[in-house]
């Protein structure tokens, strides 16, 4: 059961080089390759502070891709992706700090743990037929329970959390580099690129097509013989595993994790908002959303640090970034339910058809 995440990764490897049967898939891989190539020189161009923003964007991107697989493609609205982010972060931090295990191994372990937990939560939720709001509330409750339990468990340092021990110099094996090193960005880029590639593969795999069919009409899909439970479990496992990667990388990049940062509800909200603003249930939506949401707090902080005249009363106040993305969230849901990317893509294809 717990191997699903690993299995799907193996799938990636075998499916990657061989010519896949579907054209849209190839096109998406090509776009991904171009995007990744374009992004490679970024940390060398950007000043240090913006380099940090770029890394933050990539972390958001991975989270949103993870959420989108389960809630966008799968239609299972999760309000608790902090659970998987936190499990990834805590598993890798725990293994590294307490047992000296390389963060790469920790990341893989975190993926397995998150996938397993996702499947357990998923199993019970599907078994008891929790849907819609009930499912969302249940996922939220599980994430919060993990936060409360971690906060009061001495075994994982309670509310203090973990600080990643510093090493001398840099080491790829320990995923630690000098401050401001572009290596962080490149690692995040590889991870994010991998996450997007996985989501492309998933979307076009049998499981992905089934899950979308189930999302759109569960009864019909079940009646043509789709093994609903198995595909749904595979989906939540993949979703959890990808989100865990974001958590594990977060820990290595910021060198610090505590229960609130790992399991707090704001993590879940960030994953949701990013995916929805970009375009729920699309491959590129999370990418677009991450660029916006990831840079927004930096922009508003800059704006408020030296506010223009008419905003001077806001100096020293905070919350503007969240207000902006809240407004964007509402506007997008009301006016363009497919998100920024989804709507633009629709416009383009309409025009081409004409």
């Amino acid at each position: 059961m717990t191997d699903t995440a690993v299995e799907s990764r193996r799938e990636t490897r075998s499916a990657g080089p061989a010519a896949p049967p579907l054209r849209p898939q190839n096109r998406q891989f090509a776009v991904l390759a171009v995007l990744v190539l374009l992004a490679i020189p970024l940390p060398l161009i950007l000043p240090a502070a913006q380099g940090a923003v770029a890394v933050r964007i990539l972390i958001f991107l991975i989270m949103a891709v993870g959420w989108n697989i389960m809630s966008g493609f799968g239609g299972m609205f999760s309000f608790g992706h902090a659970a998987y982010f936190g499990l990834g972060a805590y598993t890798s931090a725990y293994l590294l700090v307490e047992h000296g295990v390389s963060p790469w191994v920790g990341m893989a372990a975190g993926m397995v743990v998150a996938a397993a937990v996702a499947m357990v939560i998923g199993y019970f939720s599907f078994r008891y037929e929790l849907k819609g709001a009930y499912f969302a509330l249940a996922t939220f409750a599980f994430a919060e329970m993990l936060r409360l339990i971690t906060t009061s468990s001495d075994a994982v340092n309670g509310a203090v959390g973990y600080q990643v021990p510093l090493i001398q110099g840099s080491s790829l094996g320990q995923m630690q580099f000098p401050a401001g090193s572009p290596a962080y960005f490149w690692i995040a880029l590889v991870l994010a690129g991998g996450a997007v590639a996985l989501s492309i593969l998933f979307r076009h795999s049998a499981a992905g097509r089934y899950v979308v069919a189930i999302r759109d009409d569960e009864l019909a899909a079940a009646s043509v013989g789709a093994p609903v439970m198995r595909h749904k479990l595979l989906t939540v496992a993949l979703s959890g595993a990808i989100t865990a990667v974001a958590g594990a990388f977060y820990t290595q990049y910021y060198l610090f994790i505590d229960p609130q940062l790992a399991f707090g509800s704001s993590v879940s909200i960030e994953a949701i908002v990013t995916a929805v603003i970009g375009g729920i249930g699309t491959i590129w939506g999370p990418v677009v959303g991450a660029v916006i949401v990831g840079s927004l707090s930096d922009v508003t902080a800059t704006l408020l640090a030296t506010p223009p005249e008419f905003l001077s009363f806001l100096q020293g106040r905070s919350g503007l970034d969240v207000i902006l993305y809240a407004v964007m969230l509402i506007l997008i849901v009301r006016l363009m339910p497919k998100g920024i990317f989804g709507t633009l893509a629709e416009k383009f294809s309409e025009r081409r058809r004409r």
Partner: protein
Amino acid sequence: MIVRRLIAVLGVGALLAAAGCGGSAPSGAAVDAAGSGDGPVRIGALHPVSGSMAVDGLQMRRGAQLAVEQINESGGIASLGGRRVQLTTADTQGKPEIGQSEAQRLISDGAVGLVGTYQSSVSSNVAVVAERNEVPFVMDVTASDEIFQHGYRHSFRVQPGSAKISESAADYLKQVSEQAGEPAGRVAVLHEQTDFGTGAADTFEAAARKLGMEVGPRVSYDATTASDFTSQITQVKASDADVLVVAGYYGDSLLIAQAIDAVKPDLDAVWGVSNGAYDQPKFVSDAGELGDRYFSTNYHFDAQNPETRRLRAEYRQRFGAPMRTGAVLSYDAVQAIAAGVEEAGSTDPAAVRNGIARAQIDPLTVGDGPVRFGPDGENVNSAAVLMQIQNGRVKQVYPPEKAESDPDYSVAW
């Protein structure tokens, strides 16, 4: 419908464009290696000037600013031919990851040292950045002792650590209660359950036991959800405790005061340990008579020091609010870095680090002597002081050499 959508797309596009331009605005021009040239010596200040801690963060930024002004008025850095000092500020927003990237920005802008950050989780992250860049980081307010267990060479702290405050609290309790002729025999402890409250309670319990006091019952609570402490205080009342120790944040400590007023347990004293409320003027005005005669052991500005009085008067005059202890600590922390530069005669962060380690400054906060850092980076002369709310004012009452008036070991109900 299409028009509406189009408008939405345009709006979002505009935001996106703003993100692109605004995002690259802040640093850019600022990177001019100020540390080595003839420009001012830059000291970076990281505080949460927005977000839920904004009031304290802004106080502390201003405290740091006042220190810089004082240094410049008295001739700048003498060993560098009177070079002036400049404060470069950053907003942590109360978030560890923002604190980290902002610390990095200040360092790449040429800061010779950093002060900050008010919150332990943010300081943990900044300490890592400082260590990796080999730039000294002098913490003003940071309660957690955990940061000093990693052997960082570039982390220093002015305030007494959480453990030191809790030990002093036990110490003072024994002495004050014995002087009053009612030695504390059994102490109940009520604490919030994150590392702050739990750490304080653990250390206090160990120290109190060593001094021959019994501890119990010990009750913890979740400060983010607790809305009524009547049951907890009833539990204290049902025990035979003489004293109630409270280690909590502001809101919960206020609720506890209300519950104490309701239940009226049979106590000799209420004893705050690193308490977020019981030495705050705001608590006095919010709680009114409820808080009368509450004790609190904490770090504090030195109310007996004329320099401190002058500084606080200036602050009040300029900013229209009483200067809090955190801001005075920021003032001390900036002075420590400036003294380090003076000592080193250089703006090379590595030399400044060694300068800080050798420097001594007279603090405006309560201490056992000049600020001097031990090999672990802690201020060896940091000290906690006992305060009590008397007649609607927070007064230092113990130890005697720091006291503004005598402790009144009793309760108001």
